[in-house]
Structures are given as structure tokens and as C-alpha cells.
Subunit: 278 residues, 2 copies
Amino acid sequence: MEEALCHRVGPDFRIADVDPTSTPGFEWNKEDWEHEFHEHDEELQELQAKLYANSRAETPGTGGLLLVLQGMDTSGKGGVVRNVFEAFDPQLVEITSFGPPTREERSHDFLWRVRPHEPAIGRIAVFDRSHYEDVLIQRVRKMAPADEIERRYEHIVDFERDMASRNIRIIKVMLHISKDFQKANLLERLEDPEKHWKYNPGDLDERELWDGYMEAYEIALRRTSTDFAPWYCLPGDRKKYARMAVKYLVLDALRAMNLEWPKADFDVEAELERARNA
Amino acid sequence: MEEALCHRVGPDFRIADVDPTSTPGFEWNKEDWEHEFHEHDEELQELQAKLYANSRAETPGTGGLLLVLQGMDTSGKGGVVRNVFEAFDPQLVEITSFGPPTREERSHDFLWRVRPHEPAIGRIAVFDRSHYEDVLIQRVRKMAPADEIERRYEHIVDFERDMASRNIRIIKVMLHISKDFQKANLLERLEDPEKHWKYNPGDLDERELWDGYMEAYEIALRRTSTDFAPWYCLPGDRKKYARMAVKYLVLDALRAMNLEWPKADFDVEAELERARNA
């Protein structure tokens, strides 16, 4: 699957090369979509159960999984989380949404609020927005000096390398939508009273800075896409495609862990005998 | 539904009156089970979305929901969490498993480690084991003096009253299984190498104290079942029944919040005009 995703970010990445309406790696055929989306749900459940079992058994080298989701407003991050993780045991998944930093958070290094949410051993952590906001909105809106932004790219790579060295697999996804798609989504929110709560007049102010954001994304993705924490720039205009692609990236990452059920650390026959008489 | 559950705990509650193999409130008819289990999933999704929307809109009086799950080893708490909450948006549910307290936790009051996990406004918190362990195992194994245990019942009621006063709905469930059912479950874990990680030789030591646990549960449930935080002693030998009953309790609690979509706090027409031109 991963090979089929053309948009793994390398040093020559250009965001303009990614067509937000494309569906690389999957035939855009609505008939089989549901089937393909759920085809590996049992395997996913077994993989996460094995991952958790190894953490419980304290198998040396057991790691975790981190999925970072970024994207412009209305890019569908929430829908990805809802749809991809419905196949997962909710006890094993911790989802953190990073909003604007509080006053206390701003008084610390930008990674201070992020570190406590790295995945525990045997668990899956999902960041809905992340430490990347600190090189995106903060760059576009000049909320931090240029040399501080520079420092952050390196700091992020170090942070992620450290997690990877503890067997945390990291997948980073930018849901790349078109400006037209965002407009349609914002209008939909405004036209439906049940969605008014999702709308914020500030969304249109951010939209005016679209080109600046695309530039900031391009630079950030190039600078921080590594072997141990690659970025994928996924076309986002077709919501079902983005959900499918993220699900398969997670599946691939879990498969690559080569998970086995842990061995019993007690005398099974003796315990069976005890249990039969208990 | 709630009325149909015979086992809401009152002052005369006796655990021996609850048959772990019974299925009060539901016909034990496997044919319709799946349908009935999922019948209200759409409503559940809308209710939780409304709850969250009101928290985002900062609607005064918006609360949260807390589900406390207790039960002997192998009583199926994990299965309840997995099955009931698969219908929920994982972003809105925080599940906390309380294991044996750490050294640091033991150096604080017993509620110290619990308080940070109360539900945020607009969210649902699930406790897999809870502060009740401090009046269950700690009573049975005499890990705390009798007068400290006494103090804790009152302290728990105060803690839960305080949450309720902030519009947090509280549902507390004991999954009541028979000793035979536990034995079968323990044997199953021992006979299946894929389940060995779930087995702990200490489980049989706890099993020897079964009667003491039943007494501790009976006292704890009686002392702490209140109008604002009622206990339900649910028969647990039929796993599908327990999952169904918990799901309907959660549904009833959300319905009782009388949730509406929040009103827009901006000029909708003006924003529509802006968005069309953006």
C-alpha cells in the first residue's frame, strides 16, 4: 500500500504537485469502497491486541504508534479519526486535539505540552493538530521569530528520532484540500444550523492566508520528513479516499512491527491444575 | 429501559438477590440481539455530537458523563468498553484503567489519582476499575484501617455529589458474575496461548477471597448508591446482556440531558455573504 501512495514526502516535495482531487493507490469505485475499507478490520484488531499484550507482558522492545494529522480548516481530520479508529479498541487509542496554546503552555518550550501525549508502550496515540502548528500558524502569522522557527524544525526531528529509538512508529499525514473544497465546506457549515457550532468567523481570516500556509506546509514537510517519521501529503478533497489511505498506512505500520503473542511467564500446566481445583 | 433493570441498588440491596445468569429487561433472544444492540446508534451519535457542540459553544450548564465499571476478574469490563463505545466518536470518550496504585499515588489521598480523569465538559469518561477499589480490595485485604475505609464511603459520596452539581451524569455498574463463570473464563485463558498474557497467577489468590469481595461489594454499593450517582448491579454471566444493558443505561443518561444544538453566536447571514466572496 505505501508504495502506491505517491505522496510520501521527500526532499524535492512540492505541494503543487499533489492534486487534492486525486486518489492515488485506490480505484475510485464507490461499489467496493466499504468492503475495501473494512477488509482488514479483523487483522487490525488482532495486531493491536498483540501490541497491547506485549506491553502487558513487558516484552522487551515493545513500542507504540503515533499518528500526526495536520490540514487546513475543514480538511476532515475529525472524520479520519472517527472512521479509521472505529475498528480499534478505544482503550488502546489516545486522541489529543491541540488547540491554541494556553498562557501556561506558551511560557514553556513548544514541545512541553506535546511530550506527555506521546504513545504509551502498547498504545496508539493520535494528534489532531500537533507540534507542527508551531511551524505553521506561528510562521505564517509571524508569532515566533524566524530563527526560532528554524530551531524548531531541528528540534522536531530530534524529538521524533528519540521516540523512534524507543520503537514508536510515527506516521505523519497532511490532508491536502483545495481552496474550493474548503469554501464548499465552510458554506455547508453556515447553511446548516446543526453545524453552526463548527464555524468560527476567524476561519475566513485564516483562509485569506492560504498561500502562506501552503508555503509553510511545504517547507515544514520537507524539513521534517525522515525515514523514522515520514510525512504523507494525502489528497483530501475526496473524504473517503483520505480515510482509506490513512487506515492502510496505520495497518502497514502495525504489520511492520512483526508482532507475536507473548509467551507465558508462568508454568501453564501447573496453573491449569490449580485453576481446575479452585 | 432503566425501570426494566431490576437491579438499581437501593438501601436494601443484597447481592445474593441478583442471579448472574439472568437478563432482566431484555428477552434473551439471540435473533434480535444485534439489531437491538445497534438500533439507536444514530441517536447515540447525535446525542454525543450535541453534547460536544454545546461544550464548544460554551453553553452554560453543559456537563459530561462518567461511567464507572467494576467487577471481579474476567467479568467482562473490557468487552463492555469495546462493544458499547464502538458506536461513539473516539475523540469524545476518555477511558482510564486504574491498576494498583503506584508509590507516588499511595502517598496521596485515594482520590488524588482519580480527579484528573473526571469527564471534561462535553466528554464521556469511562473508569475501568476506579476509586471503588479503595473500598473493595483494600477492605478485603485489610490494606487500609477500618475507620479509613469508613471515611472513604463518605468521601466518595461527596466527590460524586460535587461532580453531579457540575452537571456530570454518573452511572456506576458492577458486572456481577458467578464463581463458576469466572472459573470457566480463567480456564479459557489458560487453555488458549493467545490469552496467556491475560492470566496472572495472582488471579487465583483473589478468587479464594470471593466471599469477602461479595460482602465488600454489597456494602460499598449500598453505601454509595445515590440519586445523583446510582449503582446498577448487572448480571454478567451473559456477556451480550451486560453490554446491552450498559449501552442502554448510557443512552438513557444522554437522553435525560435534553440536548439541543447550540445557537450561532455570530451573524449567520453576514458570514454567509463573506464566505461566498472569500
